[in-house]
Amino acid sequence: MADLPYRIVIGLEVHVQLLTQTKLFCGCSTRFGQPPNSATCPVCLGLPGALPVMNRRAFDLAVKAALALNCRIASFTKWDRKNYYYPDLPKNYQISQYDLPFSSDGHLDIQTPEGTKRIGIIRAHLEEDAGKLLHEEGGSGKDSLVDLNRTGTPLLEIVSQPELSAPEEAKAYLEELRLLLKALEISDCEMQEGSLRCDANVNIHVPHADGVAATPIVEVKNLNSFRAVERAIKFEANRQYGQFQSDGKKLGDRGVSKATAGWDDVRGVTVVQRRKEEASDYRYFPDPDLVPIEVDSAWIAEVRALLGELPAAQRTRLQSQYALSAYDTEVITRQGRPFVAYFEELARGCGDAAEAKNWLTNEILQTLNDRKSDVRAFPQPADAIAELIREAKATGLNKQRARDVYAHMVSEGGTAKEVIKKLGFTPVTDEGQLRDIVRRAMAANAKAVTDFKNGKVKAADAIKGAVMRETKGMARTEMVQQILLEELQRA
């Protein structure tokens, strides 16, 4: 980023769908993928006379998220109507929070190449989602279709300060936010299913003779992946630089207002759409159907007690408790809480954190990726893999063999001991048995014995190789060496 002739300023507005069973103000199900228009009622259809009632769990989850983001929780908060007309909004207003959001003034720490950076959170507030519009393809082209299942689904909107200064930082912020919200089971943050959505407010600061000029802010929408966020910001910043070179328009100039742009992922461009509505255009006013919420310190304490260890604290602890590198810690924490729990159980069970980390981040992670599955669905509990690590170490089972045992345990089941036996990986430790094998190998390699006697020490390798073949590699090398030397001297 160092070589750009401008500095990028980015603020993100993230919407996450809360993990509730029902909508924000009615009992309709929020489950993804239900048949069109099968999860609606008079409240979420906006029929006259219907009365919304607040979902307690949605509010608790929102407070939990705000506390994890170090926000101040307001003691008094209320609901406002945001008025606009669109076919996916049956009431013609969205219930949201305007001047008294339930939380504000927080922060989230992200990792950048220059170290930890603290990103301010302006506010987090609750609001209801709109429905889904489908544009008919190949049809008459005259109609759009509306599915109102999603209408009224609880959303938490998290607004960052414009303190992100590179596309990579925006991505890091989103990743950290997702990790946090998933760990706390506030949202599953699936961009594909729309349970995490992101808009980016972008402008650039261009140094010039009289100081620094800021370009008009553009809100980029329709960002459907973290990669799209990065690409769109990069493109938009560069577009604004070109625009500024040609028209010189600055933020705050007369007639310059905030614009909205859509990201076209296929073409890789932002398309500036329209003058963005000003807040006053939404004619916000308090919703008379809903009563305010008062939150006392006991309630906050109750929710705070549910937070547990947050990812940032977890990283620090894992690094010091298990002597892991920052990189390894990141790989493990990024997989979420159940994965971390599995790691800790494995490390305890096998008594070797480094080995536990190796198995987890190589074999087990690979298996999970191959199966597109989660550690909670992994067929072998941490105890079982710990036993494998202990057995491999105790019996001198080499890594390749241990991996074979692992693969068998995962696909066919069975304990480490059972599988080792089944695959014939039981080590030959009986001295008499091994001595017999050595003697037979010497008899079959008479020339090598003679060569050894004549001072060609290397000749012993051929005999040793024969022994290892005979034992399928299951004899301890040092033991074979010892017995072979004894027998050669005796020969």
Partner: protein
């Protein structure tokens, strides 16, 4: 009167109303009169008055997060001006 024809045109746009020039002039005059009337409220002294968020002195009314039956698809679509399969059909929206 402070309301201009442009203000009226913008408010009509926000409400998705299409007004002819003659209607705009009438609406500006009538809406302006209403606003002027309501503006009298600004003379009331509110220095020591808390803003009112709700007319009733109640707060924290919640329900449990447990599903209740939704309407059938046919009932949900009963008031649709136009229906296509199990969807509401509306004039094409091009954002």
């Amino acid at each position: 009167m402070s309301l201009t024809v442009d203000d009226t045109r913008w408010v009509a746009h926000l409400a998705r109303l299409q007004l002819a020039d003659a209607e705009l002039a009438t609406m500006t005059r009538q809406l302006g009169a209403i606003l002027d009337y309501v503006t009298q409220l600004q003379q009331a002294r509110t220095d020591n008055v808390e803003p009112l968020a709700h007319p009733l002195p109640i707060h924290n009314v919640f329900r449990d997060d447990s599903p209740a039956p939704s309407l059938s698809v046919d009932a949900a679509l009963a008031n649709a001006p136009q229906r296509r399969d199990n969807f509401f059909a509306v004039p094409a929206v091009l954002d």
